[in-house]
């Protein structure tokens, strides 16, 4: 089943196009990595999926519906969870924000909402920090809380924007291991720079730089050489295959990736 269908999508903030003729299909329980250079349109593509920006041309369907009508289906973990750390707010309150407007008590939060939020914190292994001020957590812990907030509404799709950009290597691994577990039930889309790590976990990759080139990498271990014993596989190979696939449709910047390592 296709959870996301993007057809011939183009977008521009002003005149200069940011995304052109994007086609993408995300299937249920995919783990899609969206990679590409800064300013290449990765975050813009996410914002279109979330319905924050509206497409100028083409269409996006989330589970067959318009992004604006599918708020409930998508859990979103924004970039920069390190800003605003002075804000006086407890971990549990942050997670409770994930609930979509529905039945709510006159004052404060409902018992079921709190139980649900605690459940989400348990899923990410942060339940003991529920009453802690968010600012006193480490970057990795805070990221887990943001994932719990996204899980709060029981989404079918989880979208993360640079989830590990400010976390140390061990913390990054932990986050990806967590996502792998979640992936058993949820479709996951991650925008990331850390190509080497993410590609171990993803089964699909999309390279976005104004246009999008897409590759199924689920069989990467059989098809591609890995580095040493740690199962890492080479960035250049990926860029290479993405480059070679897309160079029919797009121009200039691609050829450099075709260099053999």
């Amino acid at each position: 089943m296709n959870v996301i269908e993007i057809q011939n999508l183009s977008f521009a903030y002003e005149k200069e196009p940011v995304l052109e003729h994007i086609n993408l299909i995300v299937e249920e329980r995919d783990f899609l990595a969206i990679i590409g250079p800064n300013g290449g349109g990765k975050s813009t593509l996410l914002k279109l999926m979330l319905g924050i920006n509206k497409a100028k041309e083409g269409s996006i369907k989330i589970l067959g519906k318009d992004p604006k009508d599918s708020l409930r289906e998508i859990g979103y973990v924004p970039q920069n969870t390190n800003v605003n750390t002075d804000f006086p707010i407890k971990v549990i309150e942050v997670v409770l924000m994930g609930h979509v407007d529905g039945k709510r008590p006159l004052f404060g939060y409902g018992k079921d909402e709190i139980a649900c939020a605690m459940g989400a914190l348990e899923q990410v292994g942060m339940q003991e920090y529920a009453q802690t001020k968010i600012g006193s957590l480490s970057g990795g812990q805070r990221q887990r809380v943001m994932i719990a907030r996204a899980l709060c509404a029981h989404p079918k799709i989880l979208i993360l924007d640079e989830p590990t950009s400010s976390i140390d290597i061990t913390g990054q691994r932990n986050i990806y291991e967590l996502l792998k577990v979640l992936n058993a039930h949820i479709t996951i889309i991650v925008v990331s720079h850390d190509i080497s790590v993410i590609l171990e976990y993803a089964n699909k990759a999309a390279h976005v730089n104004k246009t999008l080139s897409y590759h199924d990498i689920s069989d990467k271990n059989s098809t591609f050489h890995t580095h040493g014993n740690d199962g890492h596989f080479c960035e250049i190979e990926l860029l290479q295959m993405l480059g070679s696939e897309s160079c029919n449709s797009c121009e200039e910047e691609q050829p450099q990736w075709r260099l053999k390592p």
Binding site: L50, Y76, P78, F87, H99, V100, D101, L106, G108
Partner: protein, 272 residues
């Protein structure tokens, strides 16, 4: 000391001053918390100065000062909300502009009012000893409205303040709550003008909040602690003002600022 306080409290104007001080301090603690966490301090300063335009107009047309200042301040808040929701990166320019124009309007209309020499200083630095009974009513109503809104819509206000983009994705009407916070700020600024004056209002909205921020784990406790601290500062400031015959607004602010310095020193000692 207790004797002198009892003596002072025999005067009506002192009772009014005390009551106004407590009401305004609590409102300032709650709304100041929202202003600080939303990084709207400069914005609140702009609204405070702009509201002088309303004071000038009220004087010229013979309307109640509070009414003129409130309407003008709310108008400025709506204008700023509309502009900043559209062009956030130009916000400081717009605020500076509205700030200056508002004050200029106030000065011109006071000039134009025949035979009336308004005491500009009392609006710039406050006149808590001249609080009337109707002023007190106005303050009570505003505080009740603030408590009502903040209690019933706490989670929306919290969501918009903490992460407005995310709140929008969860179906919260961000524009509405952003504008609501600004309107409540404008009204709070207007009543705080009576106590500390429009120049000093920013200190009243920020110093207690700054102290409360490091003492609280949630926005709710921050509001409550700020309100309590602000009340304490106002009462101590008033006492100084009465005893040594000093301007009340300035006394309150200096008491606040000195306390903040002391607090930061102690905090540094404790944490090191």
């Amino acid at each position: 000391m207790i004797e002198s306080i009892m003596e002072a409290l025999q005067f009506d104007f002192m009772q009014h001053a005390l009551l106004a001080g407590i009401l305004v301090s609590f409102a300032a603690g709650i709304i100041g918390s929202l202003i600080v966490v939303n990084r709207m301090v400069f914005l609140a300063g702009g609204i405070a100065h702009t509201s002088y335009g309303g004071i000038g107009l009220a004087v010229y047309f013979g309307l109640p000062i509070f009414l003129g200042a409130s309407l003008f301040a709310v108008g400025a808040a709506l204008l700023i909300a509309a502009l900043t929701l559209k062009k956030r990166h130009r916000m400081d320019t717009f605020i500076g502009l509205i700030w200056a124009v508002g004050m200029a309007i106030g000065v011109i209309f006071v000039d134009l009012t025949p035979g009336y020499n308004v005491d500009l200083m009392s609006y710039l630095f406050g006149s808590i000893l001249a609080v009337s009974t109707s002023d007190i009513y106005f303050m009570v109503v505003l505080l009740v409205v603030i408590l009502f809104i903040v209690t019933l819509r706490y989670r929306d206000i919290l969501a918009v303040s903490y992460d407005s983009e995310y709140a929008g994705l969860r179906g919260v009407n961000v524009r509405f709550f952003y504008t609501l916070i600004l309107i409540l700020s404008a009204l709070t600024v207007v009543i705080a003008i009576k106590v500390v004056g429009l120049i000093l209002v920013i200190a009243m909205l920020t110093i207690p909040v700054y102290i409360a921020e490091s003492l609280s784990k949630s926005l709710l406790s921050m509001m409550f602690i700020s309100g309590t601290i602000a009340t304490l500062f106002t009462l101590v400031g008033l006492w100084f003002s009465y005893t040594y015959d000093l301007t009340s607004g300035a006394s309150i602010i200096l008491v606040s600022a000195l306390s903040l310095g002391l607090f930061l020193l102690i905090k540094k000692k404790v944490t090191s």
